[in-house]
């Protein structure tokens, strides 16, 4: 069975194309940002949001694995972590490009840059742990436990440390005053982009879960641990 039908693929592809067009040609650059640099918000924020979402999904499925001991949960957690790395790298790169334009330096250990590097480290450690264990049930259990303990630890840098240091990072989308301060055209493109990226992620995620499951079944049939 297909994860996404032809109609769905057409809608998703057209949607992404429209978002791309609008991000560069429809929305106006925001005030108080150097040149056209504010356009990065249409890509940076969705990828950062998805790397956090994927992390949440990995932790959620890890918890459910420990509860139910169903290997499907482990497939889902592993797929979420793999895609999380991809989007986390994209968020890091886009953020770094923006930093270069705004502050003339790709990397300046802004608290938010530090947090995203920590998230990358956690993802990397999680995937490294998975590779180090051959037996499927043991791999599933130990990596699930690690994902959950990491889930407890990461928010400390994400939320607590940025307050201990001054950050150059622009206000988050919903700022400290609890309002969204964007001009209407930027707001429209921004939320369209969030929806489009989330849908793209949902599709990739479903595909990866399915592929992981197939590989696992195949290796079970072949009689070896690796496919």
């Amino acid at each position: 069975m297909q994860v996404l039908g032809t109609a769905g693929k057409v809608v998703l592809g057209l949607g992404m194309a429209v978002v791309l067009w609008a991000a560069f040609l429809y929305a106006h650059p925001a005030e108080s940002f150097v040149g056209e640099s504010s356009r990065i918000v249409f890509f940076h924020v969705p990828t950062a949001w998805i790397s956090a979402l994927a992390f949440l999904l990995a932790a959620l499925h890890s918890g459910l694995y420990l509860k139910t001991r169903k290997m499907e949960r482990d497939d889902a957690a592993a797929a979420a972590a793999r895609l999380g790395v991809l989007f986390c790298v994209l968020a890091t790169v886009t953020g770094s490009l923006f930093a270069k334009v705004m502050w003339n330096s790709y990397w300046n250990w802004d608290p938010r840059q530090t947090s995203i590097v920590l998230l990358l480290l956690v993802y990397g450690a999680y995937l490294g742990l998975r590779q180090a264990i051959e037996e499927p049930e043991r791999r599933a259990t130990l990596s699930a436990a690690y994902a959950l303990i990491a889930f407890v630890s990461v928010p400390f840098l994400m939320f607590a440390v940025p307050r201990m240091y001054a950050s150059l990072h622009p206000d988050t989308v919903i700022n400290a005053r609890g309002r969204i301060e964007m001009s209407p055209d930027i707001k429209l493109v921004f939320f369209s982009s969030m929806i489009a990226f989330t849908a793209l992620f949902a599709w990739m995620y479903a595909l990866d879960v399915k592929a992981t499951r197939l590989v696992r079944r195949l290796s079970e049939r072949a009689g070896g641990f690796e496919a």
Binding site: E134, E135, E137, S219, R221, G223, G224, F225
Partner: protein, 205 residues
């Protein structure tokens, strides 16, 4: 208490080790587990002990009034002696037994521990200050037997209990099995015909 195994099997990844099997132990009786090398005896005993999760099926303890417990909940109800069992090499035999009695919540006095050592043919006074890692393999096997019945378990799981033992050692195994009959049941996995003769029933893998 009865140890009940229901459709139990274990696989490591795609490789099935044994099962599915169903059986139950009865108080006062000895269940023999026979089978050639590689047939999964050791893995089965570990699953019964709760040291390995069964891939399918369940293992539980059933009390007299039909009360059910998972093997994990019944601390001290199961005794285990197997080739995979190791005691602490840096502790003396008596310290080992004292430690395991204490963590299981049933502390034993020195005299009692010494009595347990003597019952498997270990001289408590001569071994007073000798660390377990300096014992001979046979002496260590005797210590492991003493460990397995330390908490007066309802179910005793013995996996090749006679390995590395001399004649007197084999008699100690027989005595332990006989003593356990008074208290509960025994699962005895072995390839030794003399030991299998102690069994009332037999499961062959």
């Amino acid at each position: 208490m009865r140890l009940v195994a229901e459709n139990v099997s274990r696989a490591f990844g795609p490789r099935r080790i044994f099962g599915p099997l169903s059986f139950a132990t009865e108080p006062g009786r000895v269940l023999g587990v026979a089978g050639p090398n590689g047939s999964g005896k050791t893995t089965l005993v570990k699953v019964l002990a709760g040291l390995l999760r069964p891939s399918e099926g369940s293992v539980r303890l059933e009390g007299p009034a039909g009360a059910r417990l998972s093997v994990h909940e019944a601390a001290g109800a199961i005794g285990w002696c197997a080739p995979d069992l190791s005691l602490y090499g840096e502790l003396t035999p008596a310290e080992n037994l004292e430690f395991f009695a204490r963590v299981a919540g049933r502390p034993r006095a020195r005299d009692e521990v010494d009595g347990r050592l003597a019952s498997v043919g270990l001289d408590p006074r001569r071994l007073r200050s000798i660390r377990t890692r300096f014992l001979s393999t046979g002496q260590r096997q005797r210590l492991k037997l003493a460990y397995s019945v330390l908490s007066d378990p309802a179910v005793l799981l013995l996996d090749e209990p006679g390995s590395n033992l001399d004649e007197a050692g084999h008699r100690a195994v027989a005595a332990i099995v006989a003593g356990q009959r008074e208290r509960g049941s025994v699962v005895l996995a072995t390839n030794d015909p003399a030991e299998l003769a102690l069994a009332d029933e037999r499961v062959t893998l």
